[in-house]
């Protein structure tokens, strides 16, 4: 293999598994260290820079970082990254004076943002401080998008939304609620310098089975029903409720039903558990509330008696799977009718753009979804950008935020007459963490503690109303243990081949046997010759320059490295060092600052 190019910011970034997996690349270990030091406000601000809504995301983020977390490979469970984010948000001091502010004089450019979901709000968050005049148009009465209309308040209290959306609106962002955009053409005619479409994927999928029309009064589309509940239009539901589908929407529907008076709620899944779309923690939370999850039942018909829904018929399924768990064959082995009073359909959402005229130069593909550039988020019409669920279909909040950051860069460039595709590169800064002999600027010990469990409000207390937040947040003891579980993957092992005497000390001390000195070879061959099996192909091998004494190479399998620094402590020549890496991921203000620097230099 060629020597690894560690100057490429992506190499060390990828080692920080959580940050790499986070769509907005939140520097997780950095904020966890701040929490460990009791610096909650600083931890909050580090988060906010990347993900804008730490209080919201600290409760309901989809947490792609957690399955990626190295700790999950080293033992069984990842660090409770999301819970720690909430700790920062819950315990911070006043942050108003630390937030970006709009300049006294605006730059004269007007931006229209459609929909007040996380995508649009992020764009406004990034552009208002640069002097842009941002107006957000929202069809509903309150801002927040699905975060307010669909995510139930027992998971995400409204005060948390109010606070974090408030920070953005306070930057002078104009919000027009109850203002649905019915024609993009008309909006474009109003002379905005750019338009951002953050309208989400607002259409819930239908299930057209026999009886659908007759039973309409007791069949609800999940996302619309949740919205009606959120805005107090629906206040009750029948005793026996069937939820069709087993994604995250289904989990919110079943738990909301329990709070509106249902006492027998079943979630009906077509496939076995391995195929569920819902996050494992959402499934657990629903089951804790005695929701029954019924597998291998495929909906067949709604059963009507006297013009009213009385039940639903399902085909009972059987599946064959291959050794990799993929379904190879499907059979119907029976049929069953389950009585019920109401059915909620939670089988997916789609984009819908009836309000975008098709002659505006905005190209739609064969699925009637707009064609959007994956880097710039620009549509095929200059100056019209998409982001969040409206761009590439339903995802989650943190993706909507990242789309917002990237679209904001493009909108800024577009308004300044610059090429939207010419963007600042990512950067890397490394600074040694060595403070003295075997003394490091981070806690390098390994704490074998298990992941802390979130405490929940007692079952008896939760169903009284819709708003009782179920999760209590971590207490100080839980926090103190959980922060130490983080391995500080951003403190990188940095190797200088010319200094190595090949004494083997680092090889012997490495607790996870991830280092090897060996003759170089092709990757597949090298992976076979390392101190411990290097069978996780998602994780890179670091390969050094040739070593001075023998011409062999130092190979490091990044998979299980604990970032314990023992290699550096054991190395007599400091060929290994531990260095704190900071990954520079440009936002709109960085682009603007760089422009200002260049102008000043000219």
């Amino acid at each position: 293999m060629k020597p690894t190019d560690t100057a490429d910011p992506d190499y060390f970034h990828k080692v920080v598994d959580c940050q790499w997996a986070c769509p907005a690349h939140t520097p997780v270990p950095d904020y966890i260290r701040l929490i460990a030091q009791g610096r909650f406000t600083d931890a909050y601000m580090v988060n906010r820079r990347s993900n804008v809504f730490p209080g919201i995301l600290g409760r309901v983020c989809d947490r792609p970082c957690e399955p990626a977390c190295r700790r999950g490979r080293v033992e069984d469970e990842p660090v409770a990254i999301c819970r720690l984010k909430r700790v920062a948000a819950d315990h911070k001091d006043e942050v108003a004076d630390k937030l970006p502010r709009a300049p006294i004089a605006q730059n004269g450019k007007k931006i229209a943002l459609i929909g007040a979901g996380p995508a649009s709000l992020t764009v406004a968050n990034d552009l208002a401080p640069l002097g842009y005049d941002c107006t957000v148009f929202e069809a509903l009465e309150k801002p927040g998008g699905l975060m307010i209309s669909n995510i139930p308040s027992f998971r995400l209290p409204e005060r948390v939304l109010d606070e974090e959306i408030g920070y953005i609106l306070d930057m002078g962002v104009k919000l027009k609620t109850g203002h649905r955009i019915d024609s993009l053409k008309a909006l474009l005619d109003e002379g905005y310098d750019a338009v951002f479409v953050g309208s989400g994927a607002p259409k819930g999928k239908e299930l057209n089975l026999p009886g659908r029309q007759e039973a309409d009064a007791n069949i609800h589309i999940g996302i619309s029903w949740l919205e009606s509940v959120a805005f107090d239009h629906v206040k009750s539901i029948g005793k026996r409720v069937l939820i069709i589908g087993v994604g995250n929407t289904a989990m919110d529907c079943c738990r909301t039903s329990l709070r509106l008076g249902a006492d027998e709620v079943k979630v009906m899944a077509r496939k076995p558990r391995e195929f569920f779309k819902a996050s494992p923690w959402e499934l657990e939370d629903a089951e804790e509330e005695n929701v029954e999850i019924v597998v291998n039942h495929s909906p067949k018909a709604f059963v009507i008696e006297d013009g009213k829904l009385v039940g639903m018929t399902f085909e009972i399924m059987e599946y064959d799977t291959d050794e990799r768990g993929r379904i190879t064959d499907t059979r119907v082995v029976g049929e069953k009718t389950i009585p019920c009073d109401d059915v909620i359909l939670a089988i997916g959402q789609e984009n819908a753009f009836p309000w975008i005229e098709r002659d505006l130069g905005i190209e739609f593909d064969k699925w009637d979804v707009p064609v959007v550039d994956e880097t710039t988020f620009e549509s095929t019409r200059k100056g019209v950008f998409f982001g969040g669920d409206s761009a590439f279909g339903p995802k989650n909040i943190i993706w909507a935020v990242e789309h917002g950051h990237q679209a904001a860069i493009s909108i800024d460039k577009h308004c300044q007459g610059l090429d939207v595709s010419e963007r600042l590169p990512r950067g890397l800064n490394l600074e040694t963490a060595k403070m003295g002999h075997n003394e490091w600027a981070y806690s390098n010990g390994y704490d074998p503690s298990q992941r802390r469990q979130m405490t929940h409000v007692e079952l008896a207390k939760r169903f009284k109303d819709l708003d009782t937040e179920v999760e209590l947040g971590f207490d100080p003891q839980q926090t103190a243990v959980e922060v130490e579980r983080c391995l500080n993957c951003d403190v990188q092992t940095v190797f200088t081949a010319s200094a190595c005497t090949e004494c083997d000390a680092c090889i012997d001390i490495c607790p996870v046997n991830c280092l090897t000195i060996t003759p170089n070879g092709e990757e597949a061959d090298l992976r076979q010759r390392l101190s411990a099996p290097a069978d996780n192909l998602d994780q890179d091998l670091f390969v050094s320059e040739d070593l001075p004494n023998t011409g062999r190479v130092m190979v490091k399998d990044e998979d299980l490295c604990l970032h314990c620094g023992l290699c550096a402590e054991r190395c007599p020549t400091a060929a290994w060092d531990m260095a704190l890496s900071e990954i520079f991921l440009p936002h709109a203000d960085d682009e603007a600052a760089e422009r200002a620097r260049r102008r000043a230099a000219e």
Binding site: N444, G445, Y446, P511, P548, N549, P572
Partner: protein, 349 residues
Amino acid sequence: MTSIVKPRIDKHLRRNQLGLTVRDYEGVMSTLCAGCGHDSVTAAFVQAFHEMNLEPHRAAKVSGIGCSSKTTAYFLGQSSGINSVHGRMPSVATGAAAVNPDLYYIGVSGDGDSLSIGIGQFAHAIRRNLNMLYCIENNGVYGLTKGQFSASADIGTKAKYGEVNEQPPIDPVLLALSLGATFVARGFSGDKKQLVPLMKAALAHKGFALIDIVSPCVTFNDHKGSTKSYAHTYEYYHPVIHADFVPEEAEITAEYQDGGAITVPMHHGGNVTLRKLGRDYDPRDRDQAFHLLRTREGSEVLTGLLYIDETKPDMGDMNRLPDEPLNVMDYSKLCPGSAKLAEVMKGYS
């Protein structure tokens, strides 16, 4: 020495026939200097025991005094050991092996411990063919007492603060050969690919097995001008013959058969295969061993299993000692009583 104990994570590691990982064969945290060759020898012991599927409590670790001698604490934490008096480890080992031949005796010593103060004891342990693996962690200096030349320092080698050695060195390998040792090898702490198989072969050997291991002292003897530094050893490193221990249940594959590999059946079962590396050399021939060592060129560090003889009786056999350890022997046998004593005494009257 490190600031923290090596964390225990082993779910990804290979388990041996006993279901144990290498981590089960470690000892307490080393207090030696970072980069000391002795720590690598420690790691080699751990690996050898793991690969041999020996239970980690089945060794008896004996040592004298020195940085090298301290290392018995750093491996096989479940085995007992004695950190004895400077140069006196062979006596302790002799006594222990006589009363309990059922353990793997591992002697760890230094060039100071074995070749200066302890040379007499060292010689007699060989003469008795004591059944043990005896490792000299050879760094050319007294590491523990801050780097004075030892008896293995080469002529012309420079001490850390400039002094040049003028006295001829004692080569423990030549010494052991002349004293009739039955297993004589040299290794290097930086080459575990060679050292671990050597240790395994030595553990399978019945009788005295010496491995002289070049093990640089990173603090007092790893500078320019030293002939026991990492750089110097790598430069003049010359493996002569590669020894592999092949356990009984495993087949001797073609890999070993070509190139005229030699197979030596071992007393405790299994075979040692010897693969020549470049030179035509038969380690079963003592004369060839002397010749090789005396005609080596310049600073060449000749390594590998240089001599092996599986036919000689060990101390236990020669003295008709019981195979049964005294601590499990039936008391009536161990102490036959006054009647028996009287009978024995009658023989002298």
